[in-house]
Homo-oligomer: 285 residues x 2
């Protein structure tokens, strides 16, 4: 069964387009990356478990696990196992991409059968079709790919918005993504070759849906990065499917603004609010 | 001491611009990724040890370690330790890049003090300055960054060569790399903010040197990917420094074409030939 169809089914069943970004931040002078009394694995897995009823997938950010070395990678693998056990889909936010033979190894790492195997992975298209095709080759096996199109960060326009030459670079890439995904449209009408488009650029999100009528769009940037629910759902189809919205810091670290609540409980409360806000925004369109 | 200066010193001392791509391939129907009788760690570390006298750095490709899960990441850390013990510089070929806070975690992973700490890392610029700056922030601490400019793969032109609008995208990025690196030019006259430009596009390599007068240029694509020595050295300055040339498969797997030789010995022989070919090509310019 195609990944996009599994995702759409989960969204219907749970009445949710929310996904949990599992981003255990590094320590800062003001905030501990791991709350006192938790191990890295506990913090991630208990948060996933607490949020599970209201989300369709987790999206662990590899950077925060790699920054903790081999122990971090063990925790990443454990977070994936926990999510699978809870019936959640898993999206490795790895933003990988390289020459063909190397992308094939990355595809094996994240869409194969090993420790880091996930249902889907995010992919950086800068190196062109060689970089993306080895990931897309895993789609018939039920895996999904989200290709960076227009990212949520402040400087995303620096290269992505360049006129290249008749349209912006990201629009050109969006057209290619739609083409790459054409052969993999499932019963939901959605392709398992999806796109990443940030909630922080709502006009671009609407434009992306036009350019990508079949893509499942992964929308980061909700919450701590400033994207609003009404912005984030701009990428959804008329039936409310086709866009999944991720929040990370605003959920994982909700406990910092909720005195007396344990981190997993604060995260669950935050995700319940987020799910409602997204559903309300979808209904209000 | 700046990374670029350490690299230039090592090149002078060893009379070599060769670096070893540590790419333990995955098994294929015809070829085992790890030679019979070796573990992953042994294969990598014994190859590094055998090649050490003739190279200035190793460049492990993260994909081939991630594809092997937690054990692979342990082997990656071990390869880095072996290289350091042998006085070699280490370049993590990770091609990372993400929104600012996430790139900062990647910079910590690869340019910090943990298991995966290396002297330099390759960075994907698609997300703009937010993605690159957290890595560049480590340069004053002696670390190096190689930003993807024009990559060696067949489809690299698909987006990198787009007119954007007055020059190709990669040329635009090259100009930015030169700007980012301007504050970090050491006694060698080279910046620790470097660029990746493939040996497979020799005309572009020459053009890259013009656009990047101060960058250390990392040149992949020599050997198995088809780049010749005369092409690869096109990015060097007149004094022969400023470009380092990487070969991976043609060295690690030289034993497949050298019956009777053990893999590390065949790799050492291949790297000796490569070093000579590059030095001859530099002298012949």
């Amino acid at each position: 069964m195609y990944f996009a169809d599994r995702l759409a089914d989960a969204s219907r069943q749970k009445h949710s387009v929310a996904i949990l970004g599992v981003d255990p931040q590094l320590d800062t002078p003001t905030t501990p990356g791991i709350p006192a009394g938790y191990t890295l694995t506990q913090f991630c897995c208990e948060t996933i478990e607490a949020c599970a009823p209201w989300i369709v997938a987790i999206k662990p950010q590899l950077a925060f696990f790699e920054a903790r070395g081999v122990d971090g990678m063990q925790a990443f693998a454990e977070a994936l196992r926990t999510a699978r056990r809870l019936g959640l889909l898993t999206i490795a936010d790895a933003k990988r991409g390289d020459i063909g033979s190397t992308s094939a190894a990355y595809a094996e790492a994240f869409l194969g059968d090993g420790d880091f195997a996930s249902d889907a992975v995010t992919v950086n298209p800068y190196q062109g079709a060689d970089a993306t095709m080895p990931f897309i080759a895993k789609v018939p096996k039920g895996r999904g790919v989200f290709i960076l199109v227009k990212t949520s960060n402040p400087a995303s326009g620096e290269f992505q918005d360049l006129p290249s030459p008749d349209r912006r670079l990201w629009e050109k890439i969006a057209e290619r993504v739609e083409g790459w995904g054409g052969d993999f449209v499932g019963t939901s009408g959605l392709s398992s070759v999806g796109a990443v488009v940030g909630a922080t650029y709502p006009a671009d999100l609407k434009r992306a849906r036009e350019l990508l009528p079949h893509a499942t769009i992964l929308v980061p940037g909700y919450g701590a990065q400033g994207g609003a629910a009404s912005d984030a759902v701009a990428a959804a189809r008329a039936d409310g499917l086709g866009a999944i919205v991720s929040a990370s810091r605003s959920v994982m670290y909700a406990y910092l603004k909720a005195p007396g609540k344990k981190p997993p409980q604060a995260a669950a409360d935050a995700i319940v609010s987020m799910r409602s806000a997204l559903n309300d925004a979808l209904a209000a369109r």
